[in-house]
């Protein structure tokens, strides 16, 4: 393997508990997004478009679907002779075996992988953010300022600063303090979880961090704090553009609606910055003779006979005559049968909604068996993947409909599981 100036490491091992049943069998980076993408398409495509040729993907939680999806990186042009994509799960060694204990520990366990490329810089990226970013600009700033670490930051509204890791900077963009989710923020520059490190410096701090028994092995909390304490040179790189951590049901729903309402924010039609994905092998989409299409995004293999209003429809979705889907995000392969009304829903892959099913905040007398306001907020209802939902069911809003466990067995609401779709993507 040849030397690589930059190696990117994508943290893709997190479970994403706040996405509820959507991450029951799939790691968060592999969750469908925007009709024909998975969330990890964004950082992967950003790498390709930024000229980064070596990408390590750190997986841990439910990696099957994610591994299958990434394959050898071909779809992102990352199947290269020199460099390429590497899936990096935790492994066993002579000294024992360890799960990745934290984000920093995940990189620590792969020091020898990175060393093989002898890079100057290592980019640490998150596998579950939706944004278009030219990393090469950040790397250039990192080089020009001779920084030890450069952290991408984005301006967030002051009232939301308590949700983010806030970077307090001086007038030369030096980071002087790191406030994790502050109650009274001094600044509104939030860390995007995107870091550029000079590799020898990072390697040193990873080893020190590993020996610190008190450490939580987290990049923000531990590595950055330790570097600040040691007065290392940490610079902020301000990113302007759309960026979203799709960590909750609401933010996943909202960011899909953003694509409909403000498509220019993350312009997916931009030829100079394509977002690549694995492409379903499906014909063009078909809109039936009595269909209604009003502010809808739709892609290959979808067939619409009913009404779709302000919704994101993924590939191979089928909406029967007389069914209405509104303010919803349907993942690939979802079937909505006639007479059903879905309002504010996220429906997982290949789930079949029976006839005359009613979902939405306006529905009265809906069953509240699946009601779950910890995960589903703002009137949004979520269906797990592969469910078959019985006819004539009404759901209370904020439900999270899941497959019964083996002990429970099917009930009269979830009457079975749809057949596993054969994977037909290139």
């Amino acid at each position: 393997m040849g030397r690589q100036e930059t190696v990117a490491m994508i943290l893709a091992g997190g479970q994403g508990t706040r996405l509820g049943v959507l991450t029951e069998h799939v790691a968060k980076p592999a969750v469908p997004f925007g009709g024909r993408y998975r969330i990890i398409d964004f950082p992967l495509s950003n790498c390709t478009n930024s000229g980064i040729e070596t990408v390590g993907v750190l997986t841990q939680y439910e990696p099957l679907e994610l591994n299958r999806y990434i394959g050898n990186g071909h779809s992102w042009d990352l199947d290269r002779n020199n460099g390429g994509t590497y899936i990096l799960p935790p492994y066993q060694s002579i000294t024992g075996s360890d799960w990745y204990k934290g984000t920093a520990n995940a990189i620590y366990q792969n020091i020898s992988f990175i060393d093989r490329f002898n890079p100057d810089f290592v980019l640490i990226l998150s596998g579950d953010h939706v944004y278009k970013m030219d990393y090469s600009k950040m790397i250039r700033q990192h080089q020009e300022t001779n920084a030890d670490a450069t952290i991408a930051v984005i301006e967030v509204p002051w009232e939301e600063t308590h949700r983010f890791g806030i970077m307090n900077t001086d007038e030369e963009a030096n980071i002087i303090e790191f406030d994790e989710k502050p109650e009274h923020a001094k600044n509104n520059l939030a860390s995007m979880g995107t870091y550029c490190f000079s590799w020898p410096v990072l390697k040193n701090y990873l080893i020190l961090d590993e020996h610190d028994k008190e450490s939580e092995n987290d990049f923000g909390k531990n590595i950055i704090s330790a570097m600040l304490a040691d007065k290392q040179s940490l610079k902020a790189y301000t990113f302007n553009g759309y960026w979203k951590d799709v960590g909750t049901i609401y933010s996943l729903w909202e960011s899909n609606m953003d694509l409909l309402d403000r498509p220019e924010d993350i312009n997916l039609h931009d030829d100079s910055w394509r977002i690549y994905s694995r492409n379903p092998i499906r014909p063009s989409h078909y809109i039936g003779p009595d269909a209604v299409m009003d502010r809808v995004s739709v892609t290959d293999g979808a067939v619409i006979y009913g009404s779709a209003i302000h919704s994101m429809l993924s590939d191979s979705v089928f909406i029967e005559e007389g069914a209405t889907v509104k303010d919803s995000f349907l993942m690939p392969g979802v079937v909505v049968k006639k007479g059903s009304n879905l309002n504010r829903c996220i429906v997982g892959m290949n789930t079949v909604i029976g006839e005359n099913v009613q979902v939405g905040p306006e529905v009265e007398g809906g069953i509240d068996f699946y009601h779950d306001e910890r995960v589903c907020t703002e009137g949004i209802t979520v269906f797990e993947q592969n469910l078959i939902i019985n006819d004539d069911i009404k759901f209370a809003a904020n439900s999270m409909v899941y497959a019964p466990t083996a002990d429970d067995g099917f009930n009269e609401i979830v009457i079975g599981l749809s057949e596993l779709e054969l994977m037909t993507e290139v």
Binding site: G34, G35, R36, S75, L260, P263, L268, H269, R274, I275, Y276, S277, N279, I281, R282, P283, S284, H285, Y286, I287, G288, P289, D290, A291, M293, D294, R295, V296, S297, V298, T299, D300, A308, L422, T424, V426
Partner: protein
Amino acid sequence: MVIDAMGLILADHDHVTLSNLTQPRALAAVPFAGRYRIIDFILSNMVNSGIKFVGVLAESKYRSLMDHLGTGASWDLDRMTQRLFILPPFMNTSLRRGDPTSNLSGLLDYVENGNQTHVVIADSNVVMNESYTDIYKAHIESGADITALYNRDGDRFGSPVISLDFDSNGRMNDLLLNAPDTAKATNFLGLTIISRDLFLNILGMMIARGQDEFSQLTLLKMFKDLNIVGYEHRGRSLRINSVATYYSASMKLLEKTTLDDLFRRDRLIYTKVKNEAPAEFLEGCKAKNLLSSDGCRIKGEVENSIFFRSVQVGKHASVKNSIIFQDVVIQDGVILDHVIIDKDCVIRTGVELKGQPDYPVVIEKGAIV
């Protein structure tokens, strides 16, 4: 049954031109069904039938064809053991055989280099989703020299129609070009199977005689000397012999049964990957009976039409019964009915174009109207 055959696709057809649509490109590279080109169906059929070597004989205007095919990766034909060969006109300077500049030398080399027992030869004017296993099996069992695919679709599909007649033993005994009554006849469906040795022999003789254009008609005309038998195709096929038949074949795609027959889950049709963003149906649009593709942005009224990738339709525009190729911009208020618009055109506000089902208006590639 495992097919032991190499594939040969004839990208051009002596008798088939589609007016402005084949001006800039080979027949095989003509866009079809929203996100495909005609050759995608033939290539996918071959690959799905287990054919591992495919040659594409290109006579002219093959730039867009080569661009589309690339290394063959989209059809898994860029492998150690599965390959795509593009055979453009060949300038042979060696004096090894007859005419040193024969266009057929490249084809001969391709066929010689194969180690399969048979060759499946396909024209580019028929679209279907078919496995070639059954016809191959029939060919082996009959022991014929050549097996030709035909059907009795009874459709009015325009010239050229090659009608084949067979004697009571099933051996071909007559060939009619554009016979008066083709609707009832058994009409050639653009596909033959022949043994590689016999094909090499025929090619060798053609080169020796200084003939340098090969078509399947050449083979079929040998019915007196060779045992040619037919194999009837009963599935869906769409013939594309003229602009009018291209138009009617495309419009058949708006029928669910046609779509289901062409795009089966068990035999996928592959095409070049474009990574286009999803299509957007924007505020104020009306869309009915439409086959449309990724990247489209629709604000106007669209009906009974086929849109390729990234078509833009402006506000209050009306597009009916039309086929719109990739990257066409239809500005606000434009009215189109029975129109085929080739790639990269811009139709400006104020324009109104109307054709007839038999004579759709065709706007050439890149035009600004």
